[in-house]
């Protein structure tokens, strides 16, 4: 078969079986993948990997078969990798017997053997399960210019945009293959040209836009294109501090799930925009103006697909993607103020907040007062993926509310702003 990518003699050898039959199949997959996008060569991956597949979903047996082939051939990720969150935590996210039966028998019955496979392939550690792998506590923080082989759309868009790393929106398995090979085909967001903006987003709101709605509006408009966002620094500043990073994490996840954005630039804020400014904008870029009315239009357009549209909410999920240390503290303050306002001491709904295991440990240790407050309000802290919980057909039928536009997009959960969700959680109704 004729391939278009230009391979080095060593790469050619791998393709022809110099490192075994399984590695040759890994290489063939990546060469075909590169050919599909006009890649001319491989470039080396820097640092750790990140896998989107963290769940032992029984139906993914064919994926487990590939893992077995890789393990059998003695292949692994030398630099180690993190993975998306685990699906289940019965201690903090209660389920009834039938729900548990579906989780344990029909859905995630292969969780334990799958985690054993991940360990053999180079998982960073027992607590390496989070979608926000790029946070300091987790220890998979790429540097500007690093080439990555990651999947998980929210992590890819953060690494590209906020950290200035270079990563395509890879699919599950492809990201593992790139990490094993230590190389990825060079195309799209790995190239200077591919990182140029096809859209100018002109933010003209009269107040700081809600991150999750702004990201949703941008994603739905530009789909997979790169947007250059102007006017947002007026509201979130020009410094990439912890608070700003939390905002950008949430905005980015919404652009990636409501559209397919893998990279955005923010004028005067994100690293490449600071360095290159308007030179990042293509000459033929289109403009999308976002004002208060546009944000309201987008939010009002979200469908209510609850079985009973007028149901009383049962559960609240906050933290998709996983919360940062700073955000956990901000939520403690937000709930404290709202409880005081409504004259209550505990939330009225089943409120679940999610963050990486290492972030929760940091929060418990270094902001123990806020940690204790959240628990005393009746709020549960966990490290699961809310999306994987909602994938259970029984759980998906529940009236769930969330501040995550990603969770709204993929499940029946209804979206509300941070302020609205706080009020609902304390009051017990919409």
């Amino acid at each position: 078969m004729q391939y278009k990518m230009k391979l080095t003699p060593e790469e050619e050898g791998v393709l022809n079986g110099s490192q075994g039959e399984v590695m040759a199949k890994v290489m063939k997959t990546l060469v075909l993948y590169g050919d599909a996008f006009g890649a001319e060569r491989f470039v080396p991956v820097v640092g750790k990997g990140h896998l989107v597949t963290s769940f032992g979903l029984s139906v993914l047996q064919p994926v487990f078969d590939i893992m077995d082939e890789l393990i059998g051939a003695g292949l692994k990720v030398e630099e180690s990798f993190t993975a998306d969150p685990r699906p289940i935590d019965y201690a903090n996210v209660k389920c009834n017997l039938i729900e548990k039966l579906i989780f344990n028998k029909m859905m995630y019955g292969a969780q334990d053997p799958y985690e054993a496979q991940l360990q053999k392939l180079g998982l960073k550690g027992e607590d390496a399960f989070t979608c926000a792998s790029y946070l300091d506590e987790v220890g998979n923080v790429p540097k500007k210019g690093d080439v990555l082989s990651w999947a998980e759309s929210s992590a890819v868009v953060f690494a590209n945009s906020v950290l200035g790393a270079r990563c395509n929106r890879n699919s599950g398995i492809i990201e593992l293959f790139g990490s094993i090979l230590g190389k990825v085909p060079e195309f799209d967001l790995l190239t200077d040209e591919g990182r140029k903006a096809k859209w100018i987003i002109d933010v003209q709101t009269t107040e700081k836009p809600e991150a999750q709605i702004l990201g949703s509006a941008i994603g739905m408009k530009v789909m997979e294109d790169v947007p250059y966002i102007k006017g947002l620094d007026k509201w979130i500043g020009t410094e990439l501090n912890e608070s700003t990073k939390g905002y950008l994490k949430d905005m980015g996840a919404a652009t990636a799930s409501n559209g397919a954005v893998g990279l955005y630039h923010i004028e005067n804020l994100t690293p490449e925009a600071v360095e290159l400014g308007d030179a990042l904008i293509r000459e033929d870029a289109k403009t999308y103006v976002i004002d208060d009315a546009e944000l309201a239009r987008v939010k009002n357009g979200y469908p209510n697909i609850w079985k009973d549209p007028n149901a009383k909410p049962e559960r609240v999920f906050i933290g998709c993607p996983h919360l940062t240390f700073t955000q956990l503290g901000e939520w403690a303050d937000r709930f404290e103020a709202e409880l005081k306002k409504q004259g209550k001491t505990k939330v009225a709904l089943n409120v679940v907040m999610t963050a990486a295991p290492a972030v929760l440990a940091h929060f418990k240790k270094d902001n123990s007062a806020a940690y204790a407050k959240l628990l005393s309000y009746g709020i549960k802290l966990t490290s699961i993926c809310p999306l994987m919980y909602m994938n259970n057909p029984l759980c998906g039928k529940k009236a769930v509310v969330t501040n995550s536009n990603k969770l709204r997009t993929y499940t029946t959960a209804r979206y509300f702003t941070d302020a609205e969700i706080t009020t609902i959680a304390v009051k017990g109704e919409i």
Binding site: T29, Y33, A36, F37, T53, D188, A260
Partner: protein, 149 residues
């Protein structure tokens, strides 16, 4: 009467007289295939409520005609999995250049699944997607020529 379109074969193969199922919006792979795969059905009935073109339609052994796929980065491995399970569409015909998730799915199927594949042709253009309708018979040649009857 038949009409011929020319695209780029991403995974080349021959398909003859298979039935088209058409989506005018991006197909969310996870949302579309997950439910049938989860319950190990013998056929995939599209479960994506946000896609009125495909919702509740049978996708197994059909030719899905679409602009591109969207959604979770699990998309590629979901396509690969349904191919390995023998319940995948027989072909995917893209009006636009193929996206990275769909490319991963059809290439993984091609390399890692024995005796089964999902033929994929992209850049068939808007005219193709405007012309093709549910139920039309599709023939695909190795060189990316697509004939719609």
């Amino acid at each position: 009467m038949s009409k011929v379109f020319k695209g780029r074969p991403v995974v080349a193969g021959k398909i003859s007289g298979k039935e088209a199922v058409v989506s005018h919006q991006g197909v969310n792979t996870l949302a579309s295939f997950q439910k049938s795969a989860l319950f190990k059905k013998k056929q995939v009935i599209c479960s994506d409520q946000n896609n009125p073109d495909l919702y509740q339609k049978n996708l197994t052994d059909k030719v899905i005609c679409l602009p591109k796929t969207i959604g979770s980065t699990t998309g590629g491995m979901v396509l690969y999995s349904v191919c390995a399970m023998g319940i995948a569409p027989c072909a995917m015909l893209f009006s636009e250049p193929i996206d990275s998730l769909a490319a991963a799915g059809v290439i993984l199927s091609d390399v890692w699944v024995k005796d089964k594949t999902i033929v994929a042709v992209d850049t068939l253009g808007d005219e193709f997607l405007n012309y093709v309708k549910d139920g039309m018979k599709i023939t695909v040649d190795e060189d990316g020529t697509v004939t719609v009857d």
